[in-house]
């Protein structure tokens, strides 16, 4: 049973990683990259490593996504400033 859950999580992680590479919309790609970390944290929890799972969920899917989104916001505003 555990093997099946781990396999499903791995396939989902791989597909969201490929999605993050292929998506044209950058915000959607960032969210897709955050989903990888979220699934990885579930995987760590199943593998009985709650400490690592907490770090992965908080840093990987929370903070990194936010830092990327802030950066993309900054770049867009600066680009708009140059055009106008």
């Amino acid at each position: 049973m555990t093997i099946i859950i781990i396999l499903v999580l791995g396939i989902l992680m791989l597909s969201s990683a490929i999605l993050a590479l292929q998506l044209k919309d950058l915000v959607a790609a960032i969210i897709s990259a955050g989903v990888i970390s979220l699934l990885a944290s579930v995987l760590f929890l199943i593998l009985a490593a709650p400490d690592v799972a907490m770090t992965e969920a908080a840093i990987g899917s929370g903070l990194t996504t936010v830092v990327f989104l802030f950066t993309i916001n900054r770049i867009r505003k600066l680009k708009g400033d140059d055009d106008g």
Partner: protein, 226 residues
């Protein structure tokens, strides 16, 4: 064309490098000697109910200090790159929505309390300084999103970060003189197993790590936002 062939060769070499991980994978039949030592002696020696914490903070404490230093250098690098204030204001003029403001006012104390709980109970429950610090930083992020005009006080941020890093190293150095070595937690009495004030200096070390990590991450967020 040449570049594609070159990339393909690198990819093949990379696969060759990681192939032994899959082909020679076998489930461990017995615990390695070092892990056995930690498992058998860890609870008695360091008195921490969460064994992972006693490895991270005390047995491998120098590595944790290195990780905190890496985070500090990353923050300093971001501060150096974004030192110039952008000409246009990045923050929108309108206020955040009513739902976001009310919800964040309700959630903020709970998030802060949870973060502080995580890093003060690092030796009892899963989690610790890093995780608690990130949770506190996410609370500040919510505040930044909800109250757009609110600005973090840089002076307080820098003082919290510097002082917590300073005291972290001081506790580590005290371990040399009062106990067996650098970042040894036995400079304080171990106390009763499983209580809040137990495991020697681990709660204090993890509180300083949590404050340092939290203030560093808040620093990154405020630098990116302004």
């Amino acid at each position: 064309m040449v570049r594609k062939i070159f990339l393909f060769i690198i990819l093949i070499l990379f696969l060759y490098m990681i192939f032994p991980l899959i082909s020679e994978f076998k489930i461990l039949s017995q615990i390695p000697d070092l892990a056995k030592y930690y498992l058998e002696k860890g609870p008695d020696e360091l008195g921490s109910a969460n064994l992972v914490t006693s490895v991270i903070v005390s047995y491998r404490g120098l590595d944790t200090l290195g990780e905190v230093t890496v985070l500090f250098i990353a923050t300093a690098g971001i501060g150096f790159l974004l030192r110039k204030k952008s000409r246009i204001s990045l923050t929108p003029n309108r206020k955040a929505s009513e739902i976001l403001r009310t919800g964040s006012a309700f959630l903020l104390p709970i998030i802060f309390l949870y973060g502080i709980f995580i890093f003060t109970h690092g030796h009892l429950t899963p989690g610790g300084g890093f995780q608690g610090g990130v949770i506190i930083a996410s609370g500040i992020l919510l505040l930044m999103l909800a109250e757009i005009s609110w600005k973090m006080n840089y002076l307080i941020l820098h003082w919290v970060e510097s002082l917590s890093g300073f005291f972290y190293v001081i506790i580590g150095l005290l371990g040399i003189f009062l106990a067996a070595g650098f970042l040894d937690n036995r400079l304080l009495p171990l106390g009763d197993f499983g209580r809040l004030f137990s495991a020697g200096a681990i709660p204090f070390i993890y509180s300083f790590v949590g404050l340092k990590v939290g203030s560093e991450l808040v620093g990154i967020l405020t630098k990116l936002q302004r």
